[in-house]
């Protein structure tokens, strides 16, 4: 049969023989996207829809609620402009995570796990960018999700602001930045996220507080497109520039 196949058909056929592990990874990724937070047993559709709406509402509410806090100083400093390069998500990403600690149960992807206090995850994409830029002076624009006792902390909360202040005192260029995501009606909705311009050293030896867990990934919009490095980081979640 092979001799009757065109070159393209042979290639198509050969692609069909890739390792199961690659297909398994694809399936897992699709499930994570579709059912985040994923469960092994698929619940009935009503339950799932309710969960989706709840997570969506929580995310949007958390992001938008950040607009309600008092004004502070813009910290978009020239710090990173003095560096040789700025690294953002160079393309749309679907983040999967690596951890700074051995996970219970083995080396499973911690995508669906909340980081424990005092630990941090960063995504494979950030890890790859770190490896690709070893030895270079590069600053990474990353989003930082904050957790306390494995529970997400709202970006506009006092806890978040206090933790950002602590990191700023350690010379971390962290604060709030603007992004957009999709509403339930699939319309683009503006939001505010916690983000930072971090060096490789700051990422690799992240000064995690014993009170919080951190998930660090490239800062992206709802469709996975990267945020612009020029849009700045602000200490005040209510800054007009964030609207």
């Amino acid at each position: 049969m092979t001799t009757s196949l065109t070159r393209e058909e042979r290639l198509f056929q050969a692609i069909g023989q890739v390792d199961d592990v690659l297909l398994e990874r694809l399936e897992q990724q699709l499930q994570l996207i579709e059912h985040a937070p994923a469960t092994v047993d698929v619940p009935d559709s009503d339950v799932m829809n309710t969960r989706r709406r709840r997570w969506h509402r929580t995310g949007i509410a958390s992001a938008l609620a950040a607009v309600a806090v008092a004004a502070c100083l813009l910290i978009f400093s020239p710090f990173w402009q003095n560096q040789s390069a700025m690294y953002t998500a160079s393309e749309p990403v679907v983040n999967s995570y690596v951890s700074n600690q051995k996970l219970p149960g083995g080396d499973v992807s911690p995508s669906m796990q909340m980081p424990a206090n005092g630990t941090f995850f960063y995504s494979h994409e950030v890890k790859q960018a770190l490896q690709a830029n070893q030895g270079k002076q590069v600053v990474f624009l990353v989003a930082i999700d904050l957790f306390h006792n494995r529970t997400p902390v709202a970006p506009d909360s006092e806890q978040t602001r206090a933790e950002l202040k602590r990191l700023q005192q350690l010379q971390y260029q962290v604060g709030y930045t603007r992004y957009w995501t999709y509403s339930d009606e699939m319309q683009q909705t503006a939001g505010t996220m916690v983000a930072g311009y971090l060096t490789a050293a700051q990422l690799e030896q992240f000064a995690a507080s014993p009170d919080y867990g951190y998930s660090i990934h490239f800062a992206t919009n709802g469709d996975g497109s990267p945020l612009s490095a020029e849009q700045g980081i602000f200490t005040d979640p209510n800054d007009p520039a964030l609207k």
């Binding site: 058909e9 692609i15 990724q29 996975g224």
Partner: protein, 186 residues
């Protein structure tokens, strides 16, 4: 519903219920693979039905760990065969566009008569897939393993179609370079 191991054991024990269980568990999955290639319900159903017969003949001696991918591959190959038969009758489906895109991956050949053993090609493609970043690999497989349309991929990956096109374009270029590097001529 039985799990993979139980169903495979039914095949090994030559219980005909193995086919019913396979169809129950993976019928829709196989149908979507076949339909993505053929875009014809009747042909896709025929391929899926043939899949169970092929599986019956293959197990034993084989004992797949992941039955979904095992039957999915069979469906995919049967659909490719069906596509070729359809092509002879000038009927399309989505395969022409899939294959046209894959043309970009094929190095210019100075010796068109040189034939590479399929096993070598399979191995090379597999090695290449492991060199791709995870996200890029997933998009590539969604398109060229599952034959998903760009719109379906955009919906399922929550990524814009243009970004998917860009990723696939990059991957095809990388694959071509890899095949040249490995001295592969199709």
């Amino acid at each position: 519903m039985l799990n993979d191991e139980d169903i495979v054991q039914l095949y090994w024990d030559r219980h005909e219920s193995a086919i019913e269980e396979s169809s129950h568990r993976y019928g829709r999955y196989c149908y979507s693979i076949s339909y993505n290639i053929l875009h014809d319900s009747e042909d896709a159903e025929e391929c899926v039905n043939d899949t169970w017969l092929r599986t019956w003949n293959a197990i034993p001696p084989q004992r797949p760990n992941k039955l979904a991918f095992f039957v999915g591959r069979i469906t995919r190959n049967l659909s490719l065969d069906k596509y070729k038969a359809k092509k002879a009758k000038k009927r399309g489906g989505d395969m022409p566009s899939l294959l046209e895109e894959l043309t970009e991956c094929i190095p210019d050949s100075t010796n068109v008569e040189q034939t590479l053993l399929d096993q070598d090609l399979n191995q090379t493609i597999n090695q290449f897939m492991h060199t791709l970043p995870e996200r890029e690999c997933n998009l590539f497989l969604a398109r060229y393993w599952y034959g998903m349309s760009l719109s379906e991929m955009a919906e399922r990956f929550k990524v814009k179609e243009n970004n998917i096109k860009a990723s696939l374009f990059r991957s095809r270029g990388k694959l071509k370079s890899y095949l040249i590097q490995e001295g592969i001529e199709l």
